[in-house]
């Protein structure tokens, strides 16, 4: 593993359950500074939950999460809010505030956290919108946007406070190939141009592999495999192969647990 100071975020022995289900069972991973890290895994492995744990919207039952060497469990409410301002998050559906226009949505963090004048806010917002190619849509309402556009606006909003960590929660879901290409390009450009750290949670292996520097594959509450996209593609583990190559059956079974096929069918009939 690389030198510790390269790690912006570190997760040690994370344990988290929701009800009877143990979602994370001793998870260990590290996010490197300035790089794009992907967190992948089959549906339901709790990838979004992990994001919530990193921003401390959820509290683990065991384990330590550090950001820049500071254990986030030790932060006060005020310090936590300060920390959260370092993150920019792109939610799965964009999560734009439906009663505000595109412009107001992007301006939202500025209005809430800064005392910038209207002129300055306008300047910043339009710049961010321009970066995602939607400066002309500033006066539209979220309901009028397509999925791809909404997500780009959400990206502009995530960037408006110039965060140093950008988190993307399933950014490629439900997009057409063109929109997807746009987002992929934006993710890479933002990361490199602004020198920030990006975390992408996704199960879209193809797209993520084109953009990630390092990937973690989660399964059963732990890291099943990690490495650069090329390393993972050529990995030996069955699970990794099933996932990376999109195979229907393997360690993640096709059939949901059920009693024997013959017995169930014939058993009924012969009654």
């Amino acid at each position: 593993m690389a030198d510790q100071s390269d790690n912006l975020i570190e997760i040690h022995d994370l344990v988290y359950s929701r009800g009877p289900r143990r979602i994370f069972d001793g998870l260990n991973l590290a996010i490197k500074r300035g790089k794009i890290t992907a967190i992948m895994g089959p549906s339901g492995t709790g990838k979004t939950t992990l994001l919530r744990l990193i921003t401390r919207q959820l509290i683990p039952s065991h384990g330590v999460i550090t950001v820049d060497g500071v254990d986030i469990a030790t932060l006060s409410q005020a310090e936590l809010y300060q920390l959260r301002q370092r993150f920019g998050m792109l939610f799965q559906n964009g999560a734009l505030l439906t009663d505000l226009s595109v412009f107001e949505n992007v301006a939202f963090p500025l209005r809430e956290h800064t005392k910038l004048s209207n002129r300055l806010i306008r300047h910043v917002v339009l710049t961010k919108l321009h970066a995602v190619g939607l400066r002309g849509a500033a006066d539209l309402m979220p309901a009028q946007l397509s999925g791809g556009m909404a997500r780009r606006v959400a990206l502009a909003r995530a960037m408006v406070m110039d965060p140093d960590i950008l988190i993307y929660d399933e950014p490629f879901v439900g997009l057409d190939p063109i929109s997807m290409g746009v987002i992929v390009r934006l993710v890479r450009r933002m990361n490199d141009a602004l020198g920030i750290t990006s975390i992408i949670v996704s199960h879209d292996v193809e797209e993520v592999s084109t953009v990630a520097d390092y990937s973690f594959l989660l399964s059963e509450g732990k890291v099943a495999a990690s490495g650069s996209p090329t390393e993972l593609r050529t990995a030996n583990s069955e699970l990794v192969r099933q996932f990376m190559h999109g195979m229907a059956d393997g360690p993640v079974a096709f059939h949901y647990d059920a009693p024997g096929y013959e017995e169930q069918l014939l058993g009924r009939d012969s009654e």
Binding site: Q57, Q82, F91, E112
Partner: protein, 257 residues
């Protein structure tokens, strides 16, 4: 039998737990209210508009008809004793002390309360509240408190409007329709109705406003983030508000007698 008792016991515990959680929630909202009122007055104004101004039509129409019905009933009963002059008084008491605050609260729960609950529930379901938390904005302060304040301020005003329009309705029936002398109609009201009656009505509408707004906001905030969940929360907010309003109405009326 055991199963029945256990179910009852569980339901009771669950009820207590929810009730307690609601109290804590209510305290939180109230605690943040003064500062939000001062710092984000624009948000509160927008919510007073949504809950109040937009409810005007239904409140005024209902007020008019309720007042007219009161006038009608009062007249037909009082004319048996040749006491038609008291028609206005019967309508005034009914409106100001009871029907004004209560019916306004029920209508409010139905029109403004459901809008609040579904709006907040939907924001929860589409991750907007989460997004706010992520952006280090406290959704309780930014979304819930202004909506609570909007309802809390709007309710007493709506109740007053209801009563006023109701008096007008009673006047239309008593004076215009049945020919009660307009002078005696209003004079008898002024002689009999006292400030304490008006105060009782205002107190009720303030209490109802707080209750209705808190419940609407609570249900929305705790809704299951699905279409079905939001729908159920909306229904619940009306039902629970209605029951709470009627219970408080009884308590306040009994206390002020």
């Amino acid at each position: 039998m055991n199963v029945l008792f256990r179910d009852l016991y569980n339901t009771l515990i669950e009820f207590l737990r929810t009730f307690g959680a609601f109290q804590l929630f209510a305290l939180r909202i109230i605690r943040h209210s003064p500062s939000m009122l001062l710092s984000r007055f624009d948000l509160v104004v927008a919510q007073v508009f949504n809950s109040g101004a937009l409810s005007l039509v239904i409140i005024m129409v209902s007020g008019l008809f309720v007042g007219a019905v009161l006038g009608l009933q009062a007249y037909s009963n009082l004319s048996l004793f040749n006491a038609e002059d008291w028609t206005g008084v019967a309508a005034a008491f009914g409106l100001v002390k009871e029907l004004g605050p209560v019916i306004t609260a029920l209508l409010f729960a139905e029109r403004a309360g459901t809008a609040l609950t579904s709006e907040i529930g939907l924001m929860k379901a589409t991750d907007q509240l989460s997004a706010m938390e992520m952006m280090a904005v406290n959704p309780v302060r930014r979304v819930l408190v202004p909506r609570f304040l909007g309802g809390f301020i709007a309710m007493p005003l709506l109740a007053a409007i209801f009563s006023m329009v109701g008096m007008f309705g009673a006047h239309l029936v008593g004076v215009e329709l049945f020919g009660v002398d307009v002078g005696s109609f209003w004079q008898q009201i002024q002689l009999t109705v006292e400030m304490s009656d008006i105060n009782e009505g205002i107190l009720k509408s303030i209490v109802f406003g707080a209750v209705a707004s808190l419940i609407a906001v609570w249900e929305g905030y705790n809704a299951m983030p699905t279409a079905e969940g939001v729908g159920r929360a909306t229904t619940r907010s009306v039902v629970i508000t209605a029951i709470a309003v009627l219970v408080f109405d009884f308590m306040i009326t009994a206390a002020m007698i």
